[in-house]
């Protein structure tokens, strides 16, 4: 599978039990808000932002949660689509 192009001008913050993705730098102008992620979404975001591939991210999901690789891959793809819609993934 192809490598993803993550927009690096976002930061994940974990505060008060929430996982929030906030724009940084020039992204503040166009994004103007915050993304609220669940724990799985936050783990996927972190992996992708660290430059991991979809497969590596899915493997990390399998290690963290009791899911099959097939389910994890589907979750990762779904999250990527949502992040793409939000402009976090190019």
């Amino acid at each position: 599978m192809s490598e993803l192009q993550m927009n690096k001008d976002f930061v994940l913050r974990r505060v008060c039990g929430l996982n929030v993705v906030l724009p940084t730098g020039a992204n503040v102008k166009d994004f103007g808000g915050a993304l609220n992620l669940n724990d799985t979404g936050a783990l996927i975001f972190e992996q992708l932002q660290a430059g991991k591939t979809v497969e590596e991210t899915a493997t990390a999901l399998v290690a963290a949660y009791d899911v099959t690789l097939e389910t994890a891959l589907a979750d990762v793809q779904e999250t990527i689509e949502s992040l793409r819609e939000a402009g976090v993934v190019a």
């Binding site: 976002f10 008060c16 103007g32 939000a86």
Partner: protein, 361 residues
């Protein structure tokens, strides 16, 4: 995955942060110096030696990073005139580059074309610009400087640049002859306008006294009536009401105050001392993040505020479902957990007039 506008996001987090003792909202008073000399300012110092006691950009960035590590999500840069701090842009960009929802308070004098271009590229959540007059004469009377033309030009440029602006008006006896015209001018910009109804006692070292610029209750009520006619709500963006409605807490408790100061918010004064909010009396609580680290300072402030005992008189007061005891308003007596009778009487008189007006309407 929900995308939330900043306001919804901040509202979602405010109660959670308070419950978890997280310092999510910080105010940074970068400098007590200013390029204006407002006669009602509670901060502004003129002694040039202050410059040597101010925090450097590096010190502010260290504190800000420690605050972020403890959970800070939103920040206010203020002063004096925050934009006169030599490291203002370094500090501002540090916040923006760390995803902090950032607000700046300014008198608008340094909001030139270059500054606006930078803000346009990296916009603050909100830019609060104080408007002190409606012409040169009123500006000189209030601020000691004929800055009218420049400030109005800068406000117009900032609005044209699409920045999120709020105009702040602080009526005082020095503005009295022009207050209504200042409000009319503010309205003509078609942006949010806030008319302050609270004047603070200046810090001791400013040499100013509230009695010298205070306005009588009758005049204040007239201003607030005019404000109601001109602007739809107390805070014309409705932000204040929006956040207040989402506060889920008792108005009066045996221990702890209603407000968020020291519970989920903190302020660092220009000399690096942490207090629950910017004008909070230091004899109630203050802490030293530069020496002890941000975490310890926050813990001290937070503990003091969680355990602050509201004056006994508040429990029997007729206004205790409307008035939240605020140590800032009872400055000299707050450390003894007492009410300042002058302030209480003033509020009671104000409330009675409001009731009367409401009945008449």
């Amino acid at each position: 995955m929900d995308k939330l506008p900043y306001r919804e996001f901040l509202a979602m987090i405010q109660e959670k942060a308070r419950e978890a003792d997280i310092p999510w909202s910080g105010s940074f008073e970068l400098t007590p110096l200013c390029n204006l000399d407002c006669k009602m300012c509670y901060v502004h110092l003129q002694d040039p030696s202050v410059r040597h006691r101010m925090l450097s950009g590096e010190q502010w960035l260290t504190l800000i990073q420690q605050a972020i590590d403890e959970g800070m999500m939103e920040a206010l840069l203020t002063g004096g005139e925050a934009m006169t701090h030599p490291a203002f842009w370094d500090i501002y960009m540090y916040l923006i580059n760390h995803g902090i929802v950032t607000q700046v308070k300014t008198n608008g004098l340094l909001l030139n074309e270059e500054a606006i271009k930078r803000f346009q590229q990296f916009p603050p959540y909100k830019l609060d610009i104080s408007l002190y007059g409606c012409d040169s004469e009123s500006y000189v009377a209030v601020t000691g400087v004929d800055a009218y033309e420049q400030v109005v030009r800068n406000i117009r440029m900032a609005i044209d640049a699409g920045l999120h602006i709020q105009i702040m008006i602080t009526p005082s006896s020095y503005m009295s002859p022009w207050t209504e015209r200042v409000m009319q001018l503010a309205k003509s910009f078609y942006v949010s306008v806030m008319v302050n109804d609270t004047l603070f006692e200046p810090h001791d070292n400013t040499g100013r006294k509230k009695a010298d610029f205070d306005i009588p209750l009758e005049e204040e009520l007239k201003i607030q009536e005019k404000r109601k006619k001109l602007f739809s709500s107390r805070y014309s963006t409705g932000d204040h009401e929006f956040f207040m409605k989402r506060r889920n807490r008792p108005v009066l408790s045996d221990k702890g105050l209603f407000c968020d100061a020291g519970r989920s918010g903190f302020a660092v004064n220009w000399d690096g001392v942490m207090v629950p909010c910017l004008s909070f009396p230091r004899d109630v609580v203050c802490a030293y993040p530069l020496c002890d680290g941000f975490r310890q300072a926050w813990n001290e402030v937070n503990e003091a505020m969680k355990n602050y005992e509201v004056p006994k008189a508040c429990h029997h007061c007729e206004l205790n479902d409307k008035c939240h005891y605020c140590p800032v308003h009872h400055q000299k007596l707050a450390a003894r957990h007492q009410c300042d009778p002058d302030y209480c009487n003033y509020l009671k008189a104000k409330y009675k007039v409001f009731q009367k007006i409401e009945k008449e309407n």
